[in-house]
Amino acid sequence: MTVNIGSVHMRTNSPDRIFRMFETMLLIREFEDAAHRALQEGLVHGSVHQSIGQEAVAVGVCSNLRRDDLIYSNHRGHGHAIAKGANLIAMMKELFGRVGGTNGGKGGSMHIADFSVGMLGANGILADGLTMGVGAAQAVALKGEDKVVGVFVGDGTTNRGPFYEGLNWAKVFNLPVLIICEDNAYASSTLTKVVTAGGGPASRARAFDIPAVTVDGNDLCAIEAVATELIKKVRSGEGPQFLHAKTYRVKGHVSRDVLAYRAKGETEIHWQQEPIGRCEKWLIGQDVTSEAIAQAHASAKAAIAEAVELAKAAPFPDAMLAYEDVQDVGAPQCRK
């Protein structure tokens, strides 16, 4: 398959590679479905921001990053973490608030992070991933490393002021940053286009002379091909690149969101375009058997079911651990 989008020339996707990425998309889907079920059962706390329907963006980008490359995520970060290679069981334990969680039970779903694979955290504050990401990129440059910093932002974030500070900063210091705008059409429960002037995320990036490519974010082959090229440019010192991936958040802002604000039939139309089904069709067209695809589904289900069982079985942390990791100097003392 070849695609030409703007100035980016694509290579042909390899079915084997796409199949492995497809398996990762399935893991993300199963993980987030399981997280919502566990939330309903009272096993997961707070809220869960699902990225269902957006899996191709996380996988298409992260599959092209090295393990030691860094990514900054946002509040919708499970997919980014899984695609970057975070441990599924530790992630599930974190959502359950148990010992062995990625964050030791201090963060939960919205702060999921695995620094051992360069996943520097899901984050509850929009645009801060970009402004911190440019600093991480400065550290990379200062240390003479060739790491790439990937920053996942949403379309809603493009209306925060620090987003522009970050774009300007990335360009003016020519930093190794790939900004991925995962455009799922919604800013919380508001349609982003209703509250946004101008020509959209890519045109905003171009205002800073940052090269920007818009791609169908539900087409894994397309996004993978674009990400390959853009990451190559970033790593070779061409400065920041902007990937605008158009996708759609088929679920709510949080998993319990009943979508009362959405037009009738809108979700159903977009379900037809979700990336897993489209990828299956493509794989079958490449002579991948339906048995292999069914097997991939079953494996993902089994892996997540195992993670859930292990999370359920894990103990809660000792309450005294609440006092740990605040700070070295002037750390809090137990009040009892």
Binding site: I125, T131, V134, G135, A139, V140, G166, V326, Q327
Partner: protein, 330 residues
């Protein structure tokens, strides 16, 4: 031991740390164009020695100055972010409070955030409402942060060096009126003032005055004045507000039995209240007189000199308030 200004002493401290550790760097507005400028003169000459990769001149983007420092700290360097004034630092409170202070904790100890953020604080004549604030109580309220407010050139240097070597995010607040004050400053890499250790600025047996930053100088002058009336005040310069040296304060009050806390900033919700509450909790039974404080009225800092003077806590105010603690019945 050379005599130098506060601004020079702090600059020397930064330069020494940058020479010692290649991963220490500074970022902020005007840092490399500071020659003769009134704003970032504390960086004068550093660009020549360390170059533009380590003395990074940034756009006027406070959010990103702060957040970039956080990202760079997490990624293994030790940035010193300069936000010029605490008033501008307000534009970066999210990045300081939601990110710098919380990353280590909410990610379960996977990272440290070893950065220093320098924000000049305090009233400088005629600077008015948006260039005069002292917001140390805001920072002290945030778990994860260390808050430092040096009063002397030697402390400015020794505390900055300790702050840079600290693995926690440190808010380093320099009073603008202190930059030109002079003092003897020890030389050498090893001159470090420990964070959380107070300094006895003046010894005395009758009352303990606890202060910080420029107010420590005013309190010391007030104590000398009180000495003429036979009241020997002990002045404790806290140096760091978080952690603060409760032990040093309690030791002094065990001797004096009295406590007075002057602060430059608005009295309501100020750090003086925290000190007094802790002291009452620990030593309430043995106090000879109820602890007192003084601070600014709860209003913005006005511009016109007589209005600004009305806002300021002065040496005279301290003298009068302390005397009242000896002449009135408790």
């Amino acid at each position: 031991m050379p005599e130098m200004t506060y601004a020079d002493a702090v600059r020397e401290g930064l330069a020494e740390e940058m020479r010692r550790d290649k991963l220490v760097w500074a970022l902020g507005e005007d840092l490399s164009t500071a020659h003769g400028s009134t704003s970032a003169f504390q960086y004068h000459g550093l660009i020549d020695e360390f170059g533009p990769k380590r003395i990074v001149n940034t756009p006027i983007s406070e959010s990103t100055i702060m957040a970039a420092a956080v990202g760079a700290a997490v990624a293994g360097t030790r940035p010193v972010a300069d936000l010029r004034m605490v008033d501008f630092g307000l534009c970066a409170m999210d990045e300081l409070v939601n990110q710098a202070a919380k990353i280590r904790y909410m990610f379960g100890g996977q990272a440290r955030v070893p950065l220093v953020v320098r924000e000049a604080a305090g009233i400088r004549r005629g600077a008015a409402a948006q260039h005069s604030q002292s917001l140390e109580s805001w920072f002290v309220h945030i778990p994860g942060l260390v808050v430092v407010m040096p009063a002397t050139p030697a402390d400015g240097k020794g505390l900055l060096k300790s702050s840079i070597r600290c693995d926690d995010p440190v808010v380093f607040l320099e009073h603008k009126d202190l930059w030109t004050t002079k003092g003897y400053v020890p030389e050498g890499d090893d001159y470090l003032i420990p964070l959380g250790k107070a300094r006895i600025a003046r010894s005395g047996k009758d009352i303990t005055i606890v202060a910080w930053s420029r107010m420590a100088l005013l309190a010391t002058a007030a104590a000398d004045e009180l000495g003429k009336s036979g009241i020997e005040a002990e002045v404790i310069d806290l140096r760091t507000l978080w952690p603060w040296d409760l032990e040093a304060v309690l030791t002094s009050i065990r001797k004096t039995g009295r406590l007075f806390v002057p602060q430059e900033t608005v009295q309501v919700g100020g750090f003086a209240a925290e000190i007094i509450a802790e002291v009452i909790d620990k030593l309430g039974e043995m106090l000879k007189y109820p602890p007192k404080r003084i601070g600014a009225p709860r209003m913005p800092v006005p511009y016109s000199p007589p209005l600004e003077d009305e806002y300021r806590v002065t040496e005279k105010d301290i003298v009068a308030a302390v005397k009242a603690m000896f002449t009135q019945n408790s």
